[in-house]
Amino acid sequence: MTLALCLRDLRKTYPNGFTALHGLDLDVAEGEFFALLGPNGAGKSTTIGILCSLVRKTSGTVTVFGHDLDRELTAAKSCIGLVPQEFNFNQFEPVDEIVINQAGYYGIPRDIARTRAETYLRQLGLWEKRRQIARELSGGMKRRLMIARALVHEPRLLILDEPTAGVDIEIRRSMWDFLRAINARGVTILLTTHYLEEAENLCRHIAIIDQGQLIENTRMQTLLGRLHQETFVLNLAQPLAAVPELPGYPLRRIDECTLEVEVAKAHGINPLFAQLSAHGIVVSSLRNKTNRLEELFVRLVDQNARPA
């Protein structure tokens, strides 16, 4: 297995004494769509900063496609494309110049840079806005501009630090499609996000860091498989006078037309509907109370926060 990214005993202590990373070990396989999750202040942005040479590590090693960041910095940097959390382009420059200039910093000739800029701006729906000053773009467009900029030198590893923050759901989903397509073309993607639905939808592998330490690192399906119980919200077709007792399915009344039920994975959901039907209760729709990954995430972070 080729590793796109290999972190060993990565540590970072800032000059004010705050230790953001306490010896992080992490491998990301080539071609992976990898979620790096964690609560605010967990060390995600510090990790990304170190990978992209924006933050100096205190100790440890980082290799990108086998290139050691300390010894082969140029080769390592050439492999990485970064979409940062905050807008970091010149707000007064036209959109196409921002992308073309970024290619130039990687030594890509201007004619090739123009062609690539057109390709990515078209794919991301920004071609019509190419001569517009960047600050005039909407929030979603600015996010897509940063993706186009990160891809223009055709990196093998794309790092996305909360790429859809503040983006409406329609654009978010179109960005997901775009990122899936990029990943399908062989680009390894490392994603951090606070939208756990996003991580669950896109990523095949997940790592969770908290307080500068890795607390989980596994396949997404393996993690989701650990969820033994899910909470569903049931919307009823008719108002309910009294909540029936259903063996194995504790029901809670939210309002006269809404119930909440905890379903153990071992029991399944079909017997629930059979019992509800037996009581004359018609369910018009149901949904998960919270995202499945969210439940696991909160549980893991809570466990880590508890004193041993």
């Binding site: 992209c52 100096r56 140029t74 970091n88 010149n90 890509i108 000739p109």
Partner: protein, 258 residues
């Protein structure tokens, strides 16, 4: 190491970006020095100058022309880099360069070349104004061009260092206001230091801008208060020192890396 051709493309990219930046806002960057110099010529050249007579055997309006051109070059080369680099830090788009494989010296050369370009463009515009106001024949074109280019490079480097250390917009105006402007005015733009009492003449010799203005004046008018060769030596020494310091700042990531 990035291949040389790639480094050249990267350098060219920064330079084009810098030139586009200051030409896009030419009303703020190129026009004001032309107006300022025009006013200097009107007031000191046309109104007061004839009463002053000659300076070092040269009509006063013509005598002050090289200093006024140099003043515009110094302030523009400096302010181009300090404002561009600080703005890149402030808006965080300096990160576009930091994440790329660009060597530090290419980043530095790109910004300095941008400062040099603005210094030369403004210098050319101001020279055109000077030519309109006073006949300014160039006696030694090579010395003139070499000194104006070296001075622009030196002050572009100064602007870069200021930009690295600056933490607020106030910090980028302190040095130009409290250091550069006084040193420039006292650097012999409007007078020959031979007119000063001996003590103040000796004090003036510690002002590096004096050497640049006089060497430039020698290039244009053929007169200078100091040795031109020594002026070139001083200028080159300053450039080497500031270039080394700038590279060290970039290597250490002062103000730009966490």
């Amino acid at each position: 190491m990035m291949p040389l051709r790639a480094q050249y493309i990267a350098f060219q990219t920064i330079l084009i970006k810098e030139i586009l930046r200051f030409t896009r806002i030419w009303i703020q960057t190129v026009l004001p020095p032309a107006i300022t110099v025009f006013l200097y010529f009107i007031i000191f050249g046309s109104l007061i100058g004839p009463r002053l007579g000659e300076m070092a055997g040269i009509p006063y309006m013509r005598y002050i022309a090289p200093g006024l051109i140099m003043m515009a070059v110094i302030s523009n080369a400096y302010s181009n880099v300090v404002s561009s680099f600080f703005s890149a830090k402030f808006q965080r788009h300096i990160e576009e360069m930091l994440v790329s494989p660009l060597p530090n010296y290419v980043i530095l050369l790109g910004f300095v070349a941008g400062g040099l370009a603005r210094g030369l463009v403004v210098g050319a515009v101001v020279t055109a104004v000077a030519m309109l106001m006073a006949s300014v024949p160039v006696q030694h074109p090579l010395i003139t061009m070499a000194m104006i280019a070296l001075t622009a490079v030196l002050f572009a480097l100064g602007g870069f260092i200021n930009g690295v250390y600056a933490r607020s917009f106030d910090d980028i105006s302190i040095i130009p206001t409290f250091v550069l402007t006084p040193l420039t005015y006292l650097g012999g733009i409007f007078y020959s230091i031979d007119m000063l009492p001996e003590f103040w003449r000796q004090v003036s010799l510690f002002n590096p801008i004096l050497y640049m203005i006089n060497a430039f004046r020698y290039g244009i008018l053929g007169v200078s208060d100091i040795d031109v060769g020594f002026a070139f030596l001083i200028t080159v020494l300053f450039i080497v020192t500031l270039f080394g310091h700038s590279l060290w700042l970039l290597h250490r990531g002062v103000g730009i890396r966490g």
